[in-house]
Point group: D2
Chain length 471, copies 4
């Protein structure tokens, strides 16, 4: 589902190098393929023989890039693109990416996905040296870090290598200088980033689904700590020291990524089916039908149904036309925003014992409404199963789980939550199962939001100190 | 699915009467709930104490009705609304509905769903009397027919009663005079129309899903030949002679209606599950997974899976953000419009024998591309199953199956089609099964597009004469 | 000036016939040239080999006709266009012109400038015969009148000839059938209409300035009661009986028409200079500078200066960028809408005795503000001179002088008005002078708004009877 | 006039301090009043209790600031605003002003009018220190210069004082920190800047006409080299060393400024009348009428007429509705863009010897077309008089006279120009007269574009060295 109080990823990134100089339509389609990772703003910067120009704004891809806009953008050999989610405070055009800057040794466009945990410290350092900041995004800090190193380095890749020593936290970044397209991933590999090949060049993207949209074939994931440099001379890789244990965000598999993407060798769809299966094993129940909350709960619901032997059914119709509809406040209280967007298929649930599968619970209010819809439609029992453990800790690596106080699970027991949401039983996926979702994946996972085990110390944020294990 | 060469319904209609004078938000939400029946234009007319004013334009509801527009529309005790699909020739603002007209005895707003088969004859009659026409839609002919009768009648309902004798073909109409909200359905009942009740009035809509969106509770379907009149005095019904055997469009159950709607007592979702079950019985095959083409093939795929015992799976991700995206012509031929909108989940189909379920085949080109996507993703076999029989005859009752020549099935055998689409086997639902889809439904069905058995002679259209049974 | 309570003309009309089939850009430019006659809505209909299609909407030409819109309109051999002013009640898309209608003998597009005084009677007649009306404009009544005659006529021009017998009031109309472009002017010739010639055809327009914009050379004015028919066979003229004494609206020369237009052989600019000269003779005053209210008072101010020998000066700067600016209500009361749009050049008026020339006074409130601005800027004396007599009677021929009660001059003596506006002296042009403005013009003039001498009895409007000469 | 090859000023600036916290509507109206100084982009930044937020974009004020936009902007105690002209290369949103930046000691918004001649050198310095640049405008260099000084200064005003030592060239700037509104003008006073007072605060603007629009009363001009600081504590002035001889751009009086503005004690309108008078004395001719090219030639034409005794007349109508109209390329070559926008009043010029007054000649092509229009309309003779001397040298202080090669006068004698433009005689204002236009003005003037006497050495631009006196 995609209602207001869902979790939000911070971004999707994309980059392309094309010897033939055909980057526009591939970039455009790739932005659509990454739109699920960020719907607040988007942007595209194209390198026209060394001159970088672009367009970015708040809005969806089809709002920001009209036919007329595309026609005026021109072609080039390189481009980078970005889709962004921003918290309410920071939705503004000046925070959209890519960021295009000019510096002593040339110009550069950069965009990233993640969160730099020492942003404040780095910013202070640059301001002390006279630097000025136009935006409130960490990407400007990243740009400063790289350009300040660039002055003392022979090449942009060397500058990035040095910058990696200074940047803490999570980042999968794509950047472009006059001559090179470069991708880099933090040493923990918090956010996904992969590499594809086209007939005449390379493509880099947050998810493999964007490679396909750009007409590229998947080659491999970019490794934690790796810098990939693409130019007319071809592709070279620089491996900086990675952490012993990588820490890919587990929620990428549970909710963020698109089902058809493959991350670290594991199918996202497959991981969700497995989540459903584990749920069925960990929280079995006698029931007549398993339904998923569209769209993100469907896969796990099928997995639960297969494992349990209970019939899978379509419980809901989601209205695809609503989008960012203006919901008229008022008269009929029953018509709140969820009811307009989501409709129960009564034929599926009436007089049935229903297993309802969703991906997670943040504040619980959405779940409560959905359960109410099922009961109104005649469901005899509703058993809620979540394909993730309870959220207990904030995320400092690019997901907007901001503070424990706002998390239902932090303040309540399972039984209290069951009662508040109004279901007959409630079951969460275990944290042990989380580590097993991505079948055959070679990486480690970050499950800090469930366990409080932060892979890196998030020094910069004083709030971080107050979180201790509660369980 | 909703690609270009899908069939299109002509419209969705809505009407509301509220004693409290709260009709705006209900009408707005109802239009969203009917949007699947027509995405080319939409409109809303509100009765402000006898003065009818409104707004209509080409575009989706959220394009035509901005926040600012809604705020200027004001409230009233009655409103009617419409969503329209128009063929390419007729997409224009002047063809959008509702049509608001002034005549001797007052003013009137009217909209309808269906097709008047004697439009040309009626139009000629009115033109001979000096009438002028502003649009190319039959709704203007309907308005003339009613107002010309109105001059010799004591009431609007009497005029409509007489008009029904003159109008031939399919129509579910909603109209509004200064004092009354009126609904009428043709004597065959080709198109659905139902009645709901709110706390302070009544609601009429093409589908029950729009009743819910308007905060109303379903009462019953409007009967073929019935005129329902709603005013301050309450609701009265006039039953004009209906045909012995009603003829509800079977394709409403197969594709047009929303799964959560209930028509003539039968669940649309249930009918689609049944279609899948019949398909499994009529065209069994050894396979590993059943996938449906989203969104309309999903329900039948689940039905096929349940009946056959073959596992149901999610075969595709549909990109929800694309909408009416400008598809850049060009460079990379592989990126045609379907590939951008629809992505295969390889994990589901790789190395599998796949049963692919869709609702119908018009020209076959879309099916061919989708099958190609599955094969590229590694499907070993693809067995296509359609939850409707082959289209052989044009529809004269409001669906745009215009001419046999353009129908793949009219010109080719099943085997030829199988070969052209590139599947390992191909099976259509039988016409016998069509009549059994709507479980417990009390009405008869029109299956003329499959059988050529037109319930009414479509005199007016000379083309109609050339269609004879082919089988 | 163009502030809210200025008088408004009802329209500008345009038609073109081009053998080469190049009508789009000429029509577009002509609409710009006629924009001063109506800024509420505009429209263009093009005849594509007998099929008439067009576009119209509320807004200025550059708002309604975007580049993209123009590119999709296509070319044809004929087109008609319209710019419209509508009173507040009637600004809506459905009232924009041209009106395109289909009738028994073909299709037709029509637009007009003026006012049909027996609209209500004609409308009732057509409604009694079953006719329905989509709009509240008289143009729909004109279309009905012509098409009802067309049924009993051999040609469209014969139908128009008969329609002229039925239509009362003022009209300069342009219409287009499948094969012909036709212009007609009422027997009194209330509104201007002229004919021009291009290399490959003809052009018809409300004013000669639009001929030039369309690349045409002025030939002559269309005569009162004349019907001009243009087709592949060339141009023919039908003269229906005209009134003994024509009655061109005198206000066309005083305010409505563009200064570079020539009407009935007289220069509009020349007529305004003459108005100023007469004013100087009729209302002399000792003063230091003559200034005009931009834009419409400038010409008469120059005329006054020349005749009186007092120096002409630029008294104001008008802000050209404001347009339909949203004027923030509120805080600083001094910044009302006039003060934002019009700024005094203090250097011109400070410590001077100023003759202020404007074209007319409707309610007097605008004049009062402007005089206040001059005094604030240091003018010692302000002597207001109007290049028209006081408005005393409503206009029934297409100008929105609706009711005597709202006219300052109807309710007050000259001395009262002088006091209310706050000027040192006040002088209006005499009605005798009005008849002499258009030098060498061959027509008669309507001065009913000044004198109450209505050329035709405006039967249909009961309000009309109550107006009797007051003086 | 305002056709393509007119000269363009770089900007208009505005700032307001209001104790009551009412700055929005004043700023909005002030932008309209300054719109003539820049039509490419505009912007407004408001200080909400120390937090600075704003909006800027390419487009006119009424395009960039919709009603909805204004309503969301909120109020504050301070605001600065800007209208910008940019050469074609630099029209982009990222170059719009004000520039809002964050730095170590707080945040700041800044905008300016002029041109920093050592931009490249300063930029290099900051880039060497690791600075990055987001735009290509000098305002970012100004911001860096001030913030780098701010780190070593006790106050923002001290930082600006030091920055003035580093910034070379022309600048009238307005800036805003969390607590202060500050205005500064370069030591030469190239561009105008003035101070006004309101009931509850102060206003700063490029021209006095914007003071009035903001409801303020003019106090005085900001002096060359002066820094004015406005805060809750009131207004303080810091005078940094000014140049012995100030150098206000003479073209402000001739063309850039609005006629109702008063600069350095002299009326702009008055200066233009004087220019006309001098022209009449320096280049007398026997003629019948004097006409001015609207809008900028009108005042000087009146001055010429008064001095010469030849009658002043209205020669042209300018179409106010065209704006940024899309001019359809093509068919009728005679309808080029000037002819659509500018129409001759034939009655004024036919069979007359015409003195045509315009402000200047850049390339001469526009003048040629206008003269052609007059001759077509029947003018017997056309004598062109320009209220400025010939342009011979580029401007480095904020006007886009970029290179001598493109200046007609640089490459041709007066006689050659006369012949090319097709006039009977041609006369330019003398450079001596330029210094006498602004009656009683206390400042010196820059006339470098006419004489090559650059007040300051424009070191940074190597092109500058190649310009030597030609005469």
């Amino acid at each position: 589902m995609c209602f207001e109080n869902k979790l939000h990823e911070e971004c999707g990134v994309f980059g392309i190098f094309s010897k033939k100089g055909e980057v526009l339509s591939s970039s455009y389609y790739a932005m659509y393929a990454l739109q699920h990772r960020g719907q607040e703003s988007c942007g595209l910067a194209i390198n026209h023989q060394g001159v970088i120009a672009g367009h970015k704004d708040t809005g969806l891809v089809n709002e920001v890039f009209s036919k007329e806009r595309l026609q005026t953008m021109g072609e080039g050999k390189m481009a980078i693109a970005h889709c962004r989610y921003g918290s309410k405070r920071t939705i503004s055009r000046s925070n959209a990416q890519p960021l295009v800057v000019n510096h002593l040794k040339g110009n550069m466009a950069v965009c990233y996905n993640g969160n730099i945990t020492n942003t404040a410290k780095l910013k202070e350092k640059f301001e002390l040296a006279g630097g000025i900041f136009h935006s409130t995004t960490a990407v400007e800090v990243i740009a400063y870090t790289i350009t300040s190193q660039r002055l003392q380095s022979d090449s942009i890749e060397e500058a990035i290598k040095k910058a990696i020593d200074q940047l803490e936290g999570a980042y999968s970044m794509v950047l472009m200088s006059a001559q090179k397209l470069i991708a880099a991933r933090d040493p923990y590999g918090f956010r996904p980033l992969c590499l594809g090949e086209t007939e005449d060049g390379y493509v880099i993207a947050s998810e493999s689904c964007a490679l396909e949209a750009a007409g590229a074939v998947f080659i491999r994931d970019i490794r934690p700590g790796e810098i990939v440099v693409i130019s007319e001379e071809g592709l070279t890789s620089i491996q900086t020291p990675a952490k012993e244990k990588s820490a890919l965000c587990a929620f990428e598999f549970i909710y963020f990524a698109r089902p058809d993407s493959v991350i670290e060798g594991a199918s996202v769809h497959g991981a969700r089916l497995r989540a459903g299966s584990f749920l069925a094993l960990e929280h079995p129940v006698q029931a007549d039908v398993v339904v998923g909350v569209p769209d993100s709960g469907i896969d796990a619901a099928i997995g639960y149904a297969r494992q349990s032997g209970i019939q899978y059914g379509q419980g809901f119709v989601k209205n695809r036309y609503i989008g960012r509809t203006f919901i008229q406040p008022g008269q009929r209280q029953r018509q709140d925003s969820i009811r307009i967007k989501l409709n129960v298929i009564a034929a599926t649930v009436k007089d049935k014992r229903v297993v309802l599968v969703d991906d997670s619970i943040v504040r619980g209010s959405t779940s409560k409404v959905i359960v109410g819809l099922l009961k109104e439609a005649g469901a005899k029992e509703v058993h809620l199963r979540l394909s993730s453990p309870p959220f207990l800790y904030p995320c400092f690596y690019g997901t907007d789980i901001d503070s424990s106080e706002h998390l239902l699970a932090y303040n309540h027991t399972i039984e209290e939550m069951r009662d508040m949401i109004g279901v007959d039983s409630l079951g969460f996926l275990s944290t042990d199962a989380v580590g097993m979702l991505a079948e055959n994946a070679t990486c480690g996972f970050c499950d800090a939001c469930f366990t409080g085990n932060y892979p890196s110390k998030p020094f910069d944020d004083e709030d971080a100190f107050k979180y201790e294990k509660k369980l």
